[in-house]
């Protein structure tokens, strides 16, 4: 029970390789246009890549390029798709919507309805069985859509930002529901929300510009991000560069002192590395305040914005969180040049 996938689509600069172990759920994250939808569509069979190969549970679902042009149509893939919008068939009741998959598979009406009732109960929506989609709230409709997808007993469940269109009250309910049904199930979930990745996924895959830029267990990726996007998700400042003996040197020749997270890095000094530190560890000074072991970066303020009960100061691609009082004392305004100071002890350095 595994899934392996490799596909390229030149027109969109898309080239992704990924795989799933049995019962594993992977969260796919990345900025808009990163190729997340292309990935899901090509797995579902709604979009044909130029070349590549994918196997689901030992069955080839496509093999394109070279001499091979095998392409299984979407209805024979067993990859049910749950989109951001529920897309319940508006002319069918909730029950008929859920029974749609089984009936398409040839299950007789009565048995399909029983199956549908079971899945509606599973998503706590049995009382909605007789309703039409227009009579359901967004959250109710999405629950019915989950039941509809599960009722097909998919070999692989594809979820495309299933919580994105829901209000803040419906989302947690659906998230809990998904956590329950995704356990021990092969699924790929595209999400923007780091909470989804943490709660629902075993691993996370970061896409950017059509390529996988980072992947690994969700916790590790969030704790030690190796891509700016993952660092952004984790809310951390991110500085890439080359490893030195006590930190990294950035592309612009700036030395960043920190503590190495891993004993005995594979490549040692000179290899690619990243320095990562939280905005809360950054202090803001008007003048250069040296003093070892500290890092001080002269930067120009681009933005000031509220962040919880703090003020987030954005400057030079980095962020610092300071108190409103401190901000007022310093008289910070966008365009000002200040110094971001961070203790070496607060900077994590590891191989990229």
């Amino acid at each position: 029970m595994t899934f392996s996938y490799q596909a390229a689509l030149a027109e969109r600069g898309f080239d992704v390789t990924m795989s799933l172990a049995a019962g594993e759920t992977v969260a796919v994250m990345g900025p808009n246009g990163a190729g997340k939808s292309t990935l899901l569509s090509s797995i579902a069979g709604l979009l044909k890549p130029d070349g590549g190969r994918a196997e689901l549970n030992g069955r080839t679902i496509f093999h394109l390029g070279g001499n091979s042009s095998r392409w299984t149509p979407p209805h024979r893939r067993g990859t049910a798709l749950l989109a951001q919008e529920p897309l319940l068939f508006p002319h069918l009741t909730a029950l008929d919507n859920v029974a749609f998959g089984p009936r398409s598979a040839g299950v007789p009406r009565k048995a399909a309805n029983r199956e549908a009732e079971r899945w509606l109960a599973e998503v706590e929506a049995l009382d909605l069985a007789r309703r039409r989609p227009a009579e359901l709230s967004g959250g109710q409709a999405q629950r019915v859509a989950v039941a509809r997808a599960l009722a097909t007993d998919p070999a692989l469940l594809l979820l495309d930002e299933p919580m994105a269109a829901l209000d803040i009250h419906s989302a947690p309910l659906l998230r809990r529901l998904l956590k329950r049904v995704l356990a021990e199930r092969q699924a790929v979930i595209v999400t923007h929300d780091v909470l989804d990745a943490l709660m629902l996924a075993d691993r996370v895959l970061i896409l950017d510009g059509g390529k996988v830029v980072e992947h690994g267990p969700t916790r590790r990726v969030l704790e030690q991000p190796r891509s700016p996007f993952a660092a952004g998700l984790a809310g951390l400042n991110f500085m890439p560069g080359t490893l030195t003996k006590d930190g990294i040197r950035t592309g612009r020749g700036r030395e960043v002192a920190g503590h190495l997270e891993e004993a005995g890095p594979r490549h040692g000094p000179g290899g690619p590395g990243v320095a990562v530190f939280p905005p809360s560890a950054v202090s803001v000074f008007l003048t250069d305040a040296h003093g070892s072991p500290r890092n001080s970066f002269p930067v120009s303020i681009t933005d000031l914005e509220p962040h919880g009960d703090q003020i987030r100061v954005r400057a030079g691609g980095l962020a610092a969180d300071i108190t409103p009082a401190a901000s007022a004392d310093l008289g910070l305004v966008p365009g000002m040049t200040v110094h971001f100071v961070v203790k070496a002890a607060a900077v994590s350095v590891y191989e990229a």
């Binding site: 939808s37 049910a80 749609f100």
Partner: protein, 283 residues
């Protein structure tokens, strides 16, 4: 009607709108005013009138069915298919909308007529189209098909094909998707398209006159009967015109009636936000 909300319409616009309405309504009112009510019933129930009305209804129903059978696939292929010269085909299919009907009649004559493109072949098969009721149905289909295709293609295009994509991932083969998803979703559009086609068929005159001829009970539809009666009996022509107006009003009212339930496709796309599901990106 809410009279409290701001409409943003300047007052003079109402003047012109009234004028526009008058351009349409006034001539219709003039017909009603000219009807000879004393003889109305005998006039519209004369043998020739009933025969023409019956023929008109029969042929219009037949051509509407033909429009549905041929128009649904055409609209779907135009809206969703991908093939070379698709834009050109779309323009060509819409041509009868803007062609003078008599041109349509001439075109049909040179296609299905005895000396026409297919005429020889049809003759060999023992089919004589000209001067037959079949010719009337063909002429009506020719002018009415674009109405169905246009309204249906619009509906299909706005709806997108995300439902179809979802249905496929749920395991439904194309045939099932068409029957259980596409067709039901296009029903409102199909209904109004069919009603419009029916109305257009009912009013068809020029192409029929040119291509099918005019013979009571065979090819003389109500518009042709009106045109003929005008020669000798203006009262009969006016009375029959009123019948045709009444049927047309009923048909148009039916087409633009707010459906009792909500327009299904609309109701659900309203709630759905703009961002497209993967299904929306199939090339």
């Amino acid at each position: 009607m809410n009279t409290r909300t701001y409409t943003g319409l300047p007052r003079w616009l109402y003047g012109l709108a009234v004028l526009a309405a008058l351009v349409v309504v006034l001539p219709l009112a003039a017909i009603v005013a000219r009807v000879n009510w004393v003889d109305f019933l005998p006039l519209v129930t004369s043998e020739s009138a009933l025969s023409a009305l019956g023929l008109s209804l029969r042929t219009s129903v037949a051509s509407t069915l033909l429009c549905i059978v041929l128009g649904v696939p055409l609209a779907l292929v135009l809206a969703r298919g991908r093939f070379p010269l698709q834009g050109l085909l779309r323009s060509l299919v819409l041509l009868p909308l803007v062609l003078p009907p008599v041109v349509g009649g001439i075109a049909l004559l040179y296609t299905f007529g005895r000396q026409g493109l297919l005429g020889g072949t049809l003759e060999v098969l023992g089919l004589q189209i000209a001067f037959s009721t079949t010719a009337v149905v063909l002429a009506q289909t020719f002018v009415a098909l674009p109405f169905l295709v246009v309204s249906l293609e619009g509906a299909v295009r706005t709806g997108g094909q995300r439902y179809e994509a979802v249905a496929a991932t749920l395991g439904a083969p194309p045939g099932v998707v068409f029957r259980r998803v596409t067709l039901p979703l296009m029903l409102p559009g199909l209904a109004s398209g069919a009603v419009l086609s029916f109305a257009r068929s009912l009013g068809e005159f020029g192409a029929t006159l040119t291509f099918a001829g005019s013979l009571q009970g065979v090819t003389r539809t109500l518009p042709l009967e009106i045109y003929l009666q005008r020669e000798t009996d203006p009262d009969a022509a006016v009375a029959l015109s009123l019948v045709l107006v009444a049927v047309a009003v009923a048909v148009v009212a039916l087409a633009y009636r707010r459906p009792a339930g909500r327009g299904v496709r609309q109701a659900s796309t309203e709630r759905a936000t703009a961002s497209a599901a993967p299904g929306g990106t199939v090339p």
